[in-house]
Subunit: 475 residues, 2 copies
């Protein structure tokens, strides 16, 4: 698999001006040409003055800060086009599995979101109290879905929802972690035979990550009941299950020793209990591990763990039928941060290839995650009626970051830029290739690929451009 750092490759993938440059405002039925001068014409300055005056204190002469809010970004046309293709692939898979789309407001009542996200509650964006209801921006699409089901008394639904969510998280934009980002959720609500909907969710993750050709991946699977069973047999009091869960969840980012010291130091577990937990949560495997734990003298005595392990075995049987166990790992370190999970949980991560010739490797962490939340709808229903649910969320923004870095391309935001100037820019900044699309290339269905260093140019059929660039960039 090929990964490219910034500026390691530059193709100019969109047909634009007469040669390159930004999209021209011509086309359609109206031909546009330039001639009107910009700036104040006649008495127009008057309006500008009025507008400025109306701006009040913030606009008084000073230009406003020219940026998007922290952790957010604009998407130029090339981004939107790539993202739309990604979303279309995901939605096609969701539809193939029989889901229908719903949409819910970006705003929710604050109380709808309260008490659903554990320690992450502090990351919720709250709106100013401007009179009326207290509002917040949605943190995910799962809680709004549960609210929707309860409100409309829907007990049975397979739905997908593609929309933006908001988290006041520490942004790590190079890793694709933003404060505003798309989620693509697929959920199954209703009572069905055990583990069949859960297996379908895993099948969907497998299909999407395979379709998108992101390279090797693994889907970690665990069950909250198994984790709680482990905590119980290790002598952790019930009141500390959720907080212990949060600490275990950090095992993918820090070594066991650090996790252990957080357990003992911050969370107040005994060193013996922490060591005992450590023996379990460092295990991962497949059906063999499930069988082994079912024979575990302590764990097999715990009702919750036994139930979880029984379901996990059943899940693996379905996954075997689907032929996807090769990418599934039963991993006792997987905990998932959110409060609302009650059963199976899972998370897909991309694997770095062993032979990775990348200057700046893209480390995006998890690209999909989900699980079973059988109690969430009941928290909204006035009579506490439950609707068992299981679902998965595809982290399209992180996938986008990978694809974006893999063949990184840019174009000059300059009207009708001179070709020579553009090539000069490539030489100055170390961009190795320029893709040139003019009238002739458009007609011929090709792209002229220029090696910036040698100045050799060759016509490449459009559909082969990306492969050709990748081939040339191989070490």
């Amino acid at each position: 698999m090929l990964r490219l750092g910034p500026l390691a490759a530059a193709g100019r993938l969109l047909p634009a001006g007469p040669r390159l440059g930004p999209p021209r405002p011509s086309g359609g039925r109206v031909r546009l040409s330039r001639s009107r001068p910009p700036g104040p014409v006649g008495d127009r300055g008057l309006l500008a003055r009025q507008v400025r005056a109306a701006a009040g204190s913030a606009g008084g002469g000073r230009s406003p800060a020219l940026k998007t809010p922290k952790g957010t970004r604009d998407h130029p046309p090339a981004h939107v086009a790539l993202r739309d293709r990604l979303l279309a692939a995901v939605v096609t898979c969701f539809k193939r599995h029989g889901a229908a789309a719903i949409d819910t407001p970006v705003l929710e009542l604050r109380e709808t979101l309260t008490g659903k996200y554990g320690e992450d509650t502090k990351l919720i964006y709250e709106l100013q109290d401007q009179g009326g209801e207290l509002l917040a921006l949605r943190y995910d699409l799962t809680v709004p879905f549960a609210r929707y089901l309860a409100m409309n008394k829907v007990t049975n639904m397979k739905r997908y929802h593609v929309a933006k969510v908001y988290r006041r998280d520490n942004p790590a934009t190079t890793r694709g972690r933003y404060r505003e980002f798309y989620q693509c959720d697929f959920d199954i609500a209703g009572q069905f035979d055990p583990m069949i909907p859960d297996a379908e969710c895993l099948k969907i993750v497998h299909e999407i990550l395979s379709d998108l050709q992101l390279g090797d991946f693994i889907i970690k699977v665990n069950d909250r009941r198994i984790l709680n069973g482990v905590f119980a047999v290790c002598g952790i009091p019930e009141s500390k299950f959720i907080t212990t869960c949060s600490t275990v969840d950090k095992l993918d980012k820090m070594p066991w020793e650090e996790v252990r010291s957080e357990m003992v130091g911050e969370k107040g577990l005994s060193p013996e209990a922490a060591d005992h937990i450590g023996e379990y949560v460092q295990l991962h495997g497949g059906l063999d591990l499930i069988e082994q734990l079912l024979q575990d003298p302590k764990l097999s005595q715990n009702k919750l763990a036994k139930e979880g392990l029984g379901d996990m075995k059943l899940l693996f049987e379905y996954l075997t039928l689907f032929g996807i166990t090769g990418k599934i790992s039963f991993d006792l370190s997987l905990a998932r941060g959110l409060d609302y999970y009650t059963g199976v949980i899972f998370e897909a991560v991309l694997l770095q290839p062993e032979n990775d010739h990348v200057e700046e490797p893209v480390s995006v962490g998890s690209v999909a995650g989900g699980g079973r939340y059988d109690e969430l709808v009941g928290m909204f229903d006035p009579k506490g009626r439950k609707v068992p649910c299981v679902g998965v969320s595809i982290g399209i923004e992180r996938i986008f970051s990978i694809l974006e870095q893999r063949v990184k391309a840019e174009m000059l935001y300059k009207k009708d830029p001179k070709l020579l100037k553009q090539l000069q820019y490539c030489e100055d900044t170390g961009i190795p290739f320029a893709a040139i699309i003019g009238e002739q290339e458009l007609t011929d269905g090709v792209v002229k690929l220029r090696d910036v260093a040698t100045r050799e140019e060759v016509d490449i059929p459009r559909e082969k451009l990306v492969d050709e660039i990748r081939r040339r960039l191989e070490p």
Copy 2:
């Protein structure tokens, strides 16, 4: 044109359960059947207790209010499907005219939005100060576009943007006015020959409203420079231009007498000045009116008005070439509320048919609007560099409300509902028709249309269903 009030017609347009009912969570590769009981199983109640406990004060036993925020709504699958079709039609038109999509965050810095919307500034949703930047939800897509152009130093772009905007307005949901709603914006940035981009925007509105077959419509056109010229020759001081503009803008909702008394009472104009304005702003027409005003002894002496009238004449010449002047009205009462317009402004309204057999007529007001804003980008640029812009926004939510009401359909949100129960519901609530889609109808590509009163059933080819229902509902 046919308009139907709520429950005047009911087709069940989506294939659903075995007969009707909500979408079944089966399909795809996994067959799902029911058997697991809902509710706490084994020790699961433990998790529920933990989750509840974590909910803290808001979740302490009490169920949260089960609603979406005021002025917002959920969209069930049938809504989303209809809306997606509408959006696709609009986007196809935008692309046909050569525009590329961008996306910007829902959140903007508060100062980005300050001083751009005049009296409407109070309708902006502000986020709580949770440390860091002061943020607000975007009020429209125009100001973010201007910010985008200035930030990226783009001087030349034809872009479209389809996204939700937020206004703390008084919601009027039956008229399709919500606090969260989609806008579909098309804008042309750059310096071009006068009135050609402006004419293209009007052409686009004409194409979209014609394509969607919403019935008769008119596009009102005016120019801020003409209005300001009128105010000047009527002796209004420059400092009162914007506030007078806001009052004139109400002429579509209240009679001249009321507008006049607001001018004199609240805005402090002299009765003579108000009467003088009244003579102008009640005029509307076409090229003839433009010629008449160009001969007007006072107005022709005002530089601003003369410039606006000259451009208006040129605009009408282009619109004549496009063959769309039949739907365009030069209307001096059109003012548009927003501060940032500097030249041509326009607004499309649907016309109620004279012979309207509707119980609850849908009054949606304007369905598209826009204009020229040559100063807005300069307000963001640190050096005040201007980029002339003109654009249009299609009010897809209001159009959706019309289409929704026109053939209003509903379905029972009940799993596998008995057909008899559904027909009983139709009789009880006065729904005249039921559309039935079962296995056989799916195979045959037909829909069984049942007259609820007579109980007659007839198979209709699917693509003819809507026409057939409309035909039967005609008086």
